[in-house]
């Protein structure tokens, strides 16, 4: 069972992330985490499979990732009791169409780029409560599908501002099992509150999401009676370079020094070489960084305790054009290395 402390759910018997997988596109494959991805797609359009739209391509990307994860876990789709999945497309179609193919019970989520933490937190809560034996948490994003929905056509000649972020073509999937199963433990989860500090610049998502990240981190530190130094790393996704700088400044004001911070948006790409401006973003960015880097570090025992805080910007094209400010959200998942025989 779990203990509730303010916005945080603590799991004295931590559910386990038994298996995980990350799939990325060509650009992500060429990034710093490229070698750690379970699959690098040479062609993320899936044209060779007869795929004719980016929306369909993202759905296939997500399916690939789920199948990889299940294969690594030695579990069939039929054995999965519930999947929490989400993406950036309107009405979450990438996930819905992927789940049509998988045929598992499905609860769709939308938390923009925070969705992986949201899915993982819900999956862990379900596992801890004994509602589900094998729960999937999966998210994806596709640069080309996101561009046409949130920005301009792909081949339109526009210039990006230095604060803009690059939507990752990537997916990550985790299979969560109840306590006792081998794997990386989920010690606590914190569901964030929506924060809006009147940022209206759609090309500066990091700034729009920073207050949410700071709010959730402060809630976590309070509930866990911990400071950043109690973790091997505090990892946000995806504040990018600009949002990260703002986070350091804000946490300093709150009396915390964030020396062990990493950001998924800066982990997935080489910002100097890959022209992603302030860093990566998208529901698949933090998911891929989680599954290709964070979880393997914990599984190998190089890290013992990590706070994974994925952030999302909750605007739509309509609310943005109507001049509304951009609300942010951040959910936190506290991850711990496997102990003793539970080592993955």
């Amino acid at each position: 069972m779990s203990i509730r402390r303010r916005d945080t759910l603590l799991f004295p018997d931590p559910p386990a992330i038994a298996a995980w997988a990350a799939v990325g596109g060509k650009k992500e494959g060429e990034g710093p985490l490229g070698a750690a991805l379970d699959e690098r797609l040479a062609d993320a359009s899936f044209a060779a499979e007869g795929c004719t739209s980016w929306e369909d391509a993202e759905s296939r990307l997500q399916q690939r990732c789920i199948r990889r994860c299940l294969r690594k876990a030695g579990v069939t789709a039929r054995q999965v009791e519930l999947a929490f999945a989400g993406d950036l497309q309107a009405q979450c179609t990438a996930s819905a169409y992927a789940m049509r193919a998988m045929g598992v019970p499905f609860a769709g989520l939308y938390g923009a780029c925070s969705t992986m933490a949201e899915a993982l937190a819900l999956a862990a809560a379900f596992a801890a409560a004994g509602y589900s034996e094998r729960t999937l948490a999966v998210t994806s994003s596709h640069f080309c599908a996101a561009e046409r929905q949130f920005r301009t056509p792909l081949n339109y000649g526009g210039k990006r501002t230095p604060t803009a972020q690059w939507t990752a073509t990537a997916a990550g999937a985790c299979l969560v099992r109840p306590a006792g199963a081998p794997g990386v433990g989920v010690a606590s989860v914190t569901f964030g509150r929506v924060q809006d500090y009147a940022v209206r610049d759609i090309n500066n998502m990091g700034a729009a999401m920073m207050p949410a990240a700071a709010g959730t981190l402060l809630a976590c530190f309070g509930a866990l009676r911990a400071a950043p130094q109690d973790f091997d790393a505090v990892i946000t996704g995806d504040l990018g370079a600009v949002g990260s700088e703002l986070l350091y400044a804000q946490l300093r004001k709150e009396g915390f020094s964030l020396d062990n911070h990493l950001d998924c948006g800066c982990l997935l790409y080489d910002r100097d070489e890959q022209h992603v401006k302030a860093g990566g973003s998208g529901a698949g960015c933090s998911a891929a960084a989680l599954c290709a880097y964070i979880l393997p570090q914990l599984a190998a025992g190089r890290w013992r305790r990590v706070l994974f805080v994925a952030t999302g910007a909750l605007m739509s094209q309509a609310t943005f054009l109507q001049g509304q400010s951009i609300p942010g959200i951040a959910h936190a998942v506290e991850l711990i290395a496997p102990t003793g025989e539970g080592r993955a």
């Binding site: 056509p153 081949n155 339109y156 210039k159 940022v199 804000q250």
Partner: protein, 147 residues
């Protein structure tokens, strides 16, 4: 949290790296200038065979055709990512905005996709361009009556 929207706006302004204005302007000037130079060379070449008016029209048509052709493999977008206003301002930028939308929305069908979205970006230019010409037409009419 020790934060309010006003002070946060100041924090964000300080943290946001500025655009490299000098480099961006140099790129825009060089690429935009080259496109115009190409146009001028073309116009003179056409003028050897055609009347000056027709040579100008043929130049526009050729540039628009070239920009649309360069949009298909994504070359125009790659150039524009550096050139900015240099590729946006000439008529080639207009061609790129129409061609890119046409390519993008092909998946939604010829009528509801391409037809409905082809002027997604160029539409406001056409709408307000037409409106401006209408207003200017009225002014011109009023002035010519007065004169």
């Amino acid at each position: 949290m020790k934060l309010d929207p006003q002070s946060y706006a100041r924090m964000v302004r300080r943290a946001a790296p500025p655009s490299a204005l000098g480099r961006d302007c140099a790129w825009a000037f060089a690429v935009g200038g080259c496109i115009c130079l190409l146009g001028e060379a073309m116009r003179r070449a056409y003028a050897l065979r055609f009347a000056p008016d027709l040579a100008g029209t043929l130049t526009s048509i050729t540039l628009i055709g070239l920009a649309a052709a360069a949009t298909v493999p994504g070359w125009y977008q790659k150039l524009a990512a550096r050139a900015g206003a240099g590729t946006l301002v000439p008529s080639t930028g207009f061609a790129n905005s129409v061609a890119s939308a046409a390519i993008e929305f092909k998946a939604e069908g010829w009528v509801t996709g391409v037809g409905a979205h082809i002027f997604q970006i160029a539409g406001p230019v056409i709408a307000y361009g037409t409106l401006a010409s209408w207003v200017w037409g009225l002014l011109y009419w009023a002035m010519s009556r007065g004169g």
